[in-house]
């Protein structure tokens, strides 16, 4: 890895329109810079060599963190992870998001890194992604051509690939109010205290003791080319059967759906094992809390 950054043109627009103009002009040869905790690493290692870097931190309207009672939470593109954690409503209502962001990297990094950057980077290991998946988040993508909303489940296309067009950027993520009475949690298996996930599991559970109303959602990081939500388990939990049996079945479904690889962080064998035990632990804790 090089000691220095490659040459690029640096822009720091103060309005969204200017940023969109630049994106259109460079036709995919520009990268957005938010916290830069992914981008700078990729530049220094020459994984990315864009002609232009567009720093969006000067765009005031993107620094938006707003909760609308009964509707949900809006997280703008330049809101840092620590700002998110410090917002009282995130801790009290969006448990699974809070729990995953709390475990993302470390304090120094979260001072810079953004939630939107985490999903736009589209790493299979993105810690906030499973949480956003179980919360049915919506991503607002904007370009000079207009704007559209992408469901988070449709946002991740492949390793480090999103549904964004080259001239589009994300302005905000909208996270609807979680189901009433729901609890959420994120388990992250790591090699030491500060690490990318070997496996991450996000869970959301409501009405654990009322099968007909019961809601169970599971999503994973680092077990497939993209973060994934496993919808197939959700119907299962509507059945009026003993929970241990349902958990066994859910684990089996999850194990069929994941496709982990072997890399320096862990083998596919270990990742599968973690999917098994972490899913169990997570569900049990959420059922017991509920």
């Amino acid at each position: 890895m090089s000691l220095i950054l490659p040459k690029f043109e640096y822009y720091k627009p103060s309005t969204l329109d200017e940023a969109l103009e630049l994106l259109a002009k460079f036709k995919g040869d520009a990268r957005i810079l938010a916290g830069g905790t992914d981008l700078i690493v990729d530049l220094r290692s020459r994984i990315k060599k864009p002609k232009a870097v567009i720093d969006i931190k000067g765009i005031k309207e993107l620094h938006k963190l707003e909760y609308i009672e009964g509707k949900g939470l809006i997280v703008g593109a330049t809101v840092t992870l620590n700002e998110l954690l410090e917002h009282p409503i995130v801790k009290s209502k969006f448990h699974v998001l809070y729990d995953s962001v709390r475990q993302l990297a470390d304090m120094q990094l979260r001072n810079r890194a953004t939630l939107v950057g985490n999903i736009c980077n589209a790493s299979p290991a993105a810690d906030s992604a499973p949480a956003l998946l179980v919360l049915d988040a919506k991503v607002k993508a904007v370009s000079k051509r207009g704007e559209r909303v992408i469901e988070i489940k449709d946002f991740f296309k492949w390793v480090k690939k999103t549904a964004l067009e080259p001239d589009e950027m994300v302005t905000e993520v909208f996270i609807p109010e979680p189901p009433e009475g729901s609890r959420g949690k994120y388990y992250k298996a790591t090699r030491n205290v500060e690490d990318l996930a070997i496996v991450g599991v996000a869970g959301l559970v409501a009405y654990p003791n009322e099968p007909s109303k019961r809601i169970v959602r599971l999503a994973y990081a680092s077990v497939a080319p993209t973060p994934i939500r496993i919808y197939e388990v959700e119907e299962l939990f509507k059945r009026d059967e003993p929970l241990p049996k349902l958990i066994d079945e859910a684990v089996n479904i999850a194990l069929r759906k994941v496709s982990p690889i072997t890399d320096v962080r862990g083998s596919d064998w270990y990742r599968r094992h973690l999917v098994d035990v972490l899913t169990r632990k997570l569900l049990i804790e959420l059922f017991l809390e509920g």
């Binding site: 000691l3 220095i4 030491n192 205290v193 083998s267 270990y270 035990v277 169990r280």
Partner: protein, 810 residues
């Protein structure tokens, strides 16, 4: 505490006190200068082009395009630098010549007037290789048909006592025998044999390697380097380049960590020669973290075979071991690491019949060097695990079997035949104290979650400095006009706290407050006093003794001057509280300030002059070792080390059977260091060493792909402990049985605090689960794999416990 310790501690004013480190504030404030911070006007930048294969012949190097880049001053290849480097075996190219030995080895250097230009040009250099089969595993490298890394091994220069085997990949081999092991194995009630492994690891010092060199037109070379042992850098450069010592000046600013990784000669000769090729202009080479992973030397890996024979009562009567150290592409310090492990092969136990082989073996990986512990963590991992396996086999408590076999002062005999000195440290006390501190013998409390288990483990250790029998240290104590002193030493304090302890020794001897003692932080080889190297936990003992002698020399000179002033023989004077007074008549005095620059009479006449004390320390009665016997050249017992620091490390752990993750609940480390010159700094070493050892034991490993490519050349995937990983409870225990020839009885400590901890963790895992771990690091995945292989039912039980938890609580 013993009689001597009791008396001296009552009379000490500065020694034995917990004084905060004297270089702490300027380090914390950022004022301390590192090689990284320095700049010389007109300085050029170097960039290295690295090998893209693990083993092969360099067919062609084309740098014509690189030369066209604006700002490029020179492009240099291995052929332009016809020198061989290497402290013990002269096997190392400055830049690869003809053949590359590992993926990432520097092949070409580009020098330009900016880093940007150097990087751009480096990318344009094209190197063609003819790949050769690579060998990554040292055992594979020992096979007769393995590819040879150094076909010319027989022609290389070698230091006395080192033993390369030409025609093989063995960089150096050692063997020793004591008693009659064959017979003893036959007589043993039990014989156990095991294989253990530890990987190559990185030092991960904070400041990556960086050097500024300026080859002057008058033939002198100035170097600014982040080097632990500047005098060794100078000596080895002189020897390999054929330049007289006084023509080479090494400037050593503050250093951002070293841990042995910066002990030897590294990039300095390359950058010096680049400066010459660039027209006698100063050149800087600074490695990024990733480059540091590829280029800078690492710690040896080990494959260890041990066979142990014991009687039913736990007495070990025979030991046979073969330690195969992974040296990587060059011999560097690895051949001395293998040597140190050879003459201490049994671990800290008194075993009558011993056969040991140890060797350093070339493989196609970055070369290995010194690393805090110098091979001892690697072979203690094997010895201390083996001992627990034996204890369980015999049904004897792991603490008891250690006490039964411990090397004891005045009685124990080391593998080289040397009897342990009578004032050596007490391993038995260390073991008992460490065990007590974690309530050894009491079963651990039950963990809250039923899928977790707890266990306790203990392991013992010993180590002394691995150095030649004539490794010198010296010191200069210079008085200033106002009665303060400047102290010049050769050692490097990159975190150990040595300079603070040395200041305490000077203050104690000269009756000065510590504030009046300045030990020079920065070092220049043409100004400071000499020391051989900063390695092997030798500084407090050797540089400490040198400083002590220099302070006493200064004191003698002061008393001589005062004697003329007070008209009393020097032996009837005493120096205290910055005054020289007549013994028995404490009102008859002259102030220190009045005599340290000579005394000036009221009429202007003078006696004496500025006081400068000098001192040295040489190892005494130490010997070279015959690599085929472990004895001294004359056949008498081999005596390699000036002291041995014994210790014991004990842990209580909790293991999650679902994930394989282990957590240290409490740790106790007890070390017999003779005398703690500064208990605060000693504790700092015990804490810091435990964290580093835990990190190595649980997380760290350089991982290589089949093609020899390093898979984790960054801190994302080379994991080191972070603040959150530190054990919550650590208990440092200082034991002080003084050694007569140590300064105030002190022995060294800095490496010993690391050595046995990984084995103690593994022993605790066995205690908790009955599962044996043979290989480091003990990552959650590796632990779980071992459980799955040896006791899969434990995982199933844990899963069941988890599900029952729901039923019970739900």
């Amino acid at each position: 505490m013993d009689f001597y310790g009791e008396v001296v501690s009552l009379t000490f004013k500065v020694v034995g006190k917990s004084i905060p480190r004297i270089d702490g504030l300027i380090k914390a404030s950022g004022e301390a200068q590192y090689a990284f911070d320095l700049e010389i006007p007109g300085m050029l930048w170097a960039k290295l082009v690295r090998s893209t294969i693990a083993h092969g012949i360099i067919k062609k190097i084309d740098y014509s395009e690189a030369l066209k880049v604006k700002g490029v001053v020179a492009v240099v290849t291995g052929k332009d630098l016809p020198y061989k480097l290497g402290i013990y075996v002269g096997d190392r190219d400055v830049l690869a010549v003809d053949r590359v030995l590992w993926y990432g080895q520097p092949v070409v250097a580009v020098v330009a007037d900016s880093l940007e230009a150097a990087e751009e040009a480096a990318e344009k250099v094209v190197v063609e290789y003819e790949p050769l089969p690579a060998v990554l595993d040292p055992e594979e490298a020992l096979k007769p048909d393995a590819p040879l890394l150094h076909p010319k091994l027989g022609e290389y220069r070698r230091a006395p006592g080192f033993n390369p085997i030409p025609g093989t990949n063995i960089a150096s081999k050692y063997e020793l025998k004591k008693g009659d092991p064959e017979k003893a194995f036959k007589e043993a009630d039990v014989v156990i044999e095991n294989k253990f492994k530890a990987p190559m690891v990185s030092h991960v010092y904070l400041e990556t390697m960086n050097v500024i060199a300026w080859y002057h037109r008058d033939g002198t070379i100035e170097i600014w380097s982040s080097a632990q042992s500047p005098f060794a850098v100078r000596y080895l450069m002189s020897a390999s380049l054929g330049i007289p010592l006084h023509k080479i000046i090494i400037h050593r600013p503050f250093i951002g960590g070293g841990f042995g990784g910066k002990a030897g000669l590294n990039l300095e000769p390359l950058v010096a020669l680049l400066s010459k090729h660039a027209g006698y202009r100063p050149v800087r080479l600074l490695l990024s973290r990733e480059e540091n992973f590829y280029i800078a030397p690492v710690r040896t890996g080990i494959i260890a075979y041990i066979k142990t024979g014991a009687r039913k009562d736990g007495r070990i009567i025979a030991h046979d071991s073969t330690y195969i150290f992974d040296s990587g592409g060059y011999a560097d310090y690895a051949v001395n690491v293998a040597r140190a492990a050879w003459y201490k092969c049994t671990g800290p136990y008194d075993i009558p019949n011993v056969h040991c082989i140890s060797m350093a073996v070339y493989t196609n990986k970055v070369y290995a060097t010194a690393f805090r512990g110098f091979g001892h963590m690697e072979f203690h991992w094997a010895v201390e695990r083996q001992l627990d396996i034996l204890a369980h086999e015999l049904g004897i408590d792991p603490l008891e079997i250690r006490l039964k076999n411990a090397l004891l002062p005045g009685k124990g005999v080391l593998p080289t035949g040397e009897k342990l000195r009578e004032d050596a440290g007490r391993l038995d006390q260390c073991l008992i104290e460490a065990a007590k501190a974690i309530d050894w013998g009491k079963p651990p409390e039950k963990p809250k979650e039923p899928w977790k288990v707890r266990g306790k483990g203990i392991a013992a250790l010993y180590k002394g400095p691995a150095e030649p029998p004539n490794a010198a240290a010296s010191a200069i104590v210079k008085f200033n006009e106002d009665g303060s002193v400047d102290v010049l030493v050769g050692t490097t304090d990159y975190g150990q706290g040595t300079i603070t302890s040395l200041a305490q020794i000077v203050a104690e001897e000269l009756g000065l407050p510590i504030e009046k003692v300045h030990v020079r932080f920065y070092l220049d080889t043409d100004a400071n006093a000499y020391t051989w190297q900063t390695v092997g936990s030798r500084s407090t003992f050797q540089d400490g003794n040198a400083v002590l002698m220099a302070a006493r020399d200064a004191k003698r000179k002061i008393l001589e001057i005062a004697s003329q002033v007070l008209h009393v023989r020097p032996e009837n004077l005493e120096l205290r509280d910055e005054k020289v007074c007549v013994k028995g008549e404490p009102w008859e005095c002259v102030s220190l300030q009045e005599v340290v620059f000579g005394y000036t009479y009221p009429n202007g006449h003078t006696v004496g002059g500025p006081v400068i004390g000098v001192g040295y320390h040489m190892p005494e009665r130490r010997t070279y070792l015959d690599p085929t016997t472990g004895r001294a050249p004359d056949g008498s017992p081999g005596a390699p080390t000036i002291f041995i620091t014994f210790g014991a490390q004990a842990v209580e752990i909790e293991l999650d059977l679902l994930t394989g993750k282990v957590e240290i609940l409490r740790y106790a480390g007890a070390f017999d260091i003779g005398k703690a010159i500064n208990p605060l700094l000693v504790k700092g070493q015990i804490y810091g060493g435990a964290v580093m050892a835990m990190s190595l034991g649980l997380f760290e490993e350089l991982k290589y792909g089949k093609d020899g490519r390093l898979l984790n050349p960054n801190l994302t995937d080379y994991k080191v402990a972070r603040a959150g990983d530190i054990p919550k409870k650590m208990i440092p225990i200082i034991i002080e049985n003084p050694q007569a020839d140590g300064p105030y009885g002190a022995r060294g400590l800095a490496e010993n605090v690391m050595i046995a901890l990984p084995a103690a963790i593994a022993n605790a895992i066995y205690n908790a689960t009955g599962v044996n771990i043979y290989e480091m690091p003990m990552t959650p995945e590796n632990i779980l794999k071992a459980i799955k292989e040896q006791k899969p039912e434990l995982i199933e039980k844990a899963k069941k416990a988890l599900m029952e938890y729901l039923e019970k609580k739900g």
